[in-house]
């Protein structure tokens, strides 16, 4: 069989965390689980988790799925923080982490 220029490995083998200078941090006490941050993430770095152990604005949000940030892939663009309607995401300098 000949050598063929076909690529087969998932790009998720490539971690892009080192690209980041600031990181988004979700304040779950303000997060209404609207998933707008998830919707607008260009790096597919925001996943969905069951939020029972997370803080919440009030009891009604306690059982809802919540966004979480996958810091292996987040490049720190800040779209999530910019688009969050509830100011629940802060961009924090990596040097301060």
């Amino acid at each position: 069989m000949v050598l063929v220029p076909t690529a087969y490995a998932p790009s998720s083998n490539n971690k892009t965390s080192s690209w980041r200078t600031t990181r988004p941090v979700i304040d779950y006490s303000k997060c209404t689980r609207c998933m707008i941050c998830w919707k607008f993430c260009p790096d597919v770095a925001i996943g969905v988790t069951f939020g029972e152990k997370l803080d919440y604005p009030n009891e009604r949000f306690s059982k809802l799925e919540a966004p979480f940030i996958n810091y292996d892939y987040c490049k720190g663009c800040g779209i999530c923080a910019s688009e969050c309607p509830f100011d629940a995401i802060d961009m924090v300098q990596e040097s301060e982490m």
Binding site: M1, V2, L3, V4, P5, T6, A7, Y8
Partner: protein, 391 residues
């Protein structure tokens, strides 16, 4: 096509090619018209329209797109074909490299025609000579029978799992493309069996998603891929010999294989040619033999990969030879000459002349070949233009 008997017909080179694609089970054809190739795709379009050929035919807006679309269809796993000529070949240059690098066994019939300016629609090999380093194999035929047979042999060679490279199948403009000759039509069932099913090992499969041709840095296997292409291509010489043998047995034919030696056994002097002018050269060889001159002809069918060992074997023992280039290229000598000389370098030390002849469809006449033989017998070498100069 007028039938003489069951298997023989009088047909042009273009018709022979078109018919061969049907026999070989081509399923997708995409092309752009250009003289003198046009009749090939017209014939295919007609066969498809009349359900004599089970294939999809599309006419695209450029040769670049013709090659890009057959790239898509081959990747999808369908045996594909296109045809072009001259400026069309030049226009698809980028795509030629791309499909070869993708290892797609596409076949393209080329009706060899000159390159302008000035516009000239007649035969020479400048169009395909300028594409000799694109990763395509190149086969130059001499007759309409070969126009048909090289398509059939070509698919078998190209689709071999150890080769997987595209092939250009050449015939000379008008001399073959528009001239009728008797051609034995190969039996369709036998052809299908001979060529086999097309099964591209890496075809598009949603269950096995891959990137085809992705970015590769210097330390990626870039060089290794190019090395593998060269290795595969040069394994094609022996593979072509094997396939020729099988072809001749299957069809009771006498297809010559990568090279054809004509009266070479005890020759002292020989010419090396490509394409249809070889027929005239053979006529001259016969005449000179009748006059007691020990001359011969070596015709190269398979130009890429260049069958260097076969060529060396034929040239060993000669007192002189000449290489006829029917193309305008701008290296120190003609392309075929340089390939021959670099192949024999350090192995044979024989005076050799490079004849440039027949550009833009100018006839290469009996007297021209006589002159060439005379000059190599006189020990001339260097580049000599034949039947050209201020008139």
């Amino acid at each position: 096509m007028r039938a003489i008997n069951k298997n023989w017909s009088i047909m042009t080179g273009n018709e022979a090619v078109a018919l061969a694609t049907k026999l070989a089970g081509v399923k997708f054809v995409s092309a752009y018209p250009i003289t003198p190739q046009t009749a090939i795709v017209e014939k295919i379009a007609e066969m498809v329209a009349n359900e004599k050929m089970d294939a999809k035919f599309i006419e695209v807006e450029s040769e670049h797109s013709a090659m890009a679309s057959v790239m898509g269809s081959e990747l999808a796993g369908v045996r594909s074909f296109t045809a072009s000529s001259s400026h069309g070949i030049l226009y698809m240059h980028e795509m030629l490299n791309w499909v070869a690098g993708m290892r797609l066994p596409i076949l393209m019939a080329v009706v060899n025609r000159s390159i302008g300016p000035p516009w000239n629609i007649w035969a020479d090999h400048s169009d395909t000579m300028t594409q000799r380093d694109t990763g395509w194999m190149q086969l130059y035929g001499e007759s309409n029978q070969e126009a048909m047979d090289t398509i059939i042999l070509g698919y078998k060679l190209a689709e071999n799992k150890d080769i997987l490279l595209p092939i250009m199948v050449m015939q000379d403009a008008f001399t073959l493309s528009h001239t009728s000759e008797p051609v034995e039509i190969r039996d369709e069932e036998k052809v299908r069996e001979f060529v086999g099913e097309f099964n591209l090992p890496f075809k598009i499969d949603i269950n096995k998603p891959m990137g085809y041709g992705s970015l590769m840095p210097p330390d990626g296997p870039f060089m290794e891929l190019k090395m593998d292409m060269k290795k595969s291509m040069y394994s094609g010489v022996n593979k072509f010999i094997e396939i020729t043998k099988e072809f001749n047995e299957t069809f009771d034919a006498n297809f010559p294989g990568p090279v054809e030696g004509f009266m070479m056994d005890d020759a002292d002097y020989a010419l090396i040619t490509l394409g249809s002018i070889s027929s005239t050269a053979k006529h001259v060889v016969r005449n000179l033999r009748n006059q007691g001159k020990k001359v011969g002809l070596l015709r190269i069918l398979l130009y890429r990969p260049f069958p260097k060992d076969l060529v060396i074997n034929y040239l060993r023992g000669l007192k002189g030879f000449g290489v006829v280039d029917r193309s305008s290229t701008y290296g120190p000598f003609g392309s075929l000459y340089m390939d021959v000389i670099s192949s024999i370098y350090g192995k044979l030390d024989i005076p050799a002349a490079n004849f440039i002849a027949g550009l833009g469809g100018r006839d290469v006449r009996v007297v021209d070949f006589e002159e060439m033989f005379m000059r190599i017998m006189e020990g001339e070498d260097g580049e000599i233009w034949i039947n050209a100069g201020v008139k």
